[in-house]
Symmetry: C2
Subunit: 356 residues, 2 copies
Amino acid sequence: MEHTYAVIMAGGVGSRFWPSSRAATPKQLLDLTGSGRTMIGATVGRLQPDIPPERVIVVTGRVTLEAVREAVPELPPENVLAEPQGRNTAPCIGWAALHVAHRDPDGVLAVMPSDHLVADQTGFMDAVRTAVGAAQGGALVTFGITPDRPETGFGYIEMGDEVDPGVRRAERFVEKPDLETAEQYLAAGNFAWNSGMFFFRADKILGEIGAQMPELKTGLDEIGAAIGTAEQDAVVDRVFPTLPSESVDYGIMEGASGILCVPASFGWSDLGSWAAAYDLSNKDADNNAVDADAIAVGSSGCLVRAPEEKLVALVGVDDLVVVDTGDSLLVCKRGLAQDVKKIVTELKRRGRKDLL
Amino acid sequence: MEHTYAVIMAGGVGSRFWPSSRAATPKQLLDLTGSGRTMIGATVGRLQPDIPPERVIVVTGRVTLEAVREAVPELPPENVLAEPQGRNTAPCIGWAALHVAHRDPDGVLAVMPSDHLVADQTGFMDAVRTAVGAAQGGALVTFGITPDRPETGFGYIEMGDEVDPGVRRAERFVEKPDLETAEQYLAAGNFAWNSGMFFFRADKILGEIGAQMPELKTGLDEIGAAIGTAEQDAVVDRVFPTLPSESVDYGIMEGASGILCVPASFGWSDLGSWAAAYDLSNKDADNNAVDADAIAVGSSGCLVRAPEEKLVALVGVDDLVVVDTGDSLLVCKRGLAQDVKKIVTELKRRGRKDLL
């Protein structure tokens, strides 16, 4: 995969992992499953040795730039790009495509979030190779994760005929369904989860941006012309905040034709909440996932995180998320972990920037 | 009540209130109901103005001596006695009786724990006056708290005939009953809770000790002879640890004759666990008793205590005790608050003196 560049999107804030996730330490900078590595570190790591650090580009925000560089020290510092302002994924990917095209006219982007999990490393890289191969032919390519439940939290891709071994047509992208629709998708068998991972040649995606988002293309052209010059940073500072804020799904993929889909099942998880972190953590005999100095009496099914100098005692409690960060403590019913964002909303309302 | 001396027993460690209660800050030094006063401070306070600080004697342990003096600064420092070693209530009361007798040959002791609650201050002092009156006549007197439930956690007193207005004979003391027996006691109407509060003349209790616990009497005589001399502290250090470790209930009250009982119902609680602290705390609209900076979403029936600089977030949890002390965190089902002592047992097993 010599022409392949990984583009890792690391601009998220991950409020569902409060109190661990904060503006300065968002989800991708945390080790949420007790693996010993940050999410972004694991994301870079699983690409090795196929896509070496020199060909891994990370796009993050200004406030997290240094922390990201520390989390993936194997990357050349200039491979970590900092957006002056988050403008959603279309400008992010377009900007990365400019850098890839500048380095390699035949460059292919393998775009992926920085904060997802993959259980089957070999299966993942096999799927990446298949997708990159299809992208080299000029197509926009996406992964289609084989669903194992009627999940209502993801968008879906309706898949059509197989056009090459392991490559199918993507007939359409659909938004997050209700439960009844999700059950129909699961039963139908030709619907897959949109994981937010995409593969395309740099010149191809820039061409699609030109066709579908001309305003974005104009701004990107200005930024692209300055790459490698002394004005590079100043132009980004001036132009990037003016780019239209739009997702690549809505702005490009939904309107493009000839998109291909690589069906894949490599144990993917977007790790969307503390409940997902619990599911993917190692458990003890009482099904507690403990990363803390803890004593549990008559308690099971709990996720526990705390500073190492703190003792956590559980008595007679089941299925809780208990996360202590020193300045904050979350005690949450595990099945209601999505509602952690309500705490974040309330903290914003109270102006508690110190805790966000 | 000019001859009356309050003797407040403050030797307990209160492990059921871990992590707030510690060896150096036992239950009586905590404000468990958010009243703004320590338990011992409230105990001294409710005696005012009838029994002034000059006639309040506190018996505590060496490790808590200074903290107790700080908690009740209105007491003359010499009124806070420190046992070199806890020997249960009989030696504690005997020692206090020596001090009372030394000050006032007609002195009457009003003995009470330092860590109980009283809701009805006026009713409490009325009962104290009645009990002191009976004690001045020479009897050993106890309170008999009118039960409102078949409680199995207390000892009971079977009451006989009324001998004076508001004063009945105490026929016998019985140990903590099983539930069936407790229900019979409640139905019978002549059984009352033993609250651990006693009233007797100093000379009378010392006489009873001589009759029923001669070994204790011998030791107390040695300590009593040194009161007011230069050897006072040295004698206590040498003799006190050799005194028999026995409760006044078992060593004296159960074997004494002519005990009187003052039936009383002044909203007494021994505040035996975090669940009792919850019951007696102010609640918000969701029935949460919060003494912390907290955000509760879809949560009810919880007791929350935390350092003021910490934010506590509850999401979808009910009937929990959440107590954060900085070095430790307890998350406990409220109905299982008695099991907190299992945590203390485990900490002892692990040798975690820093948390005990």
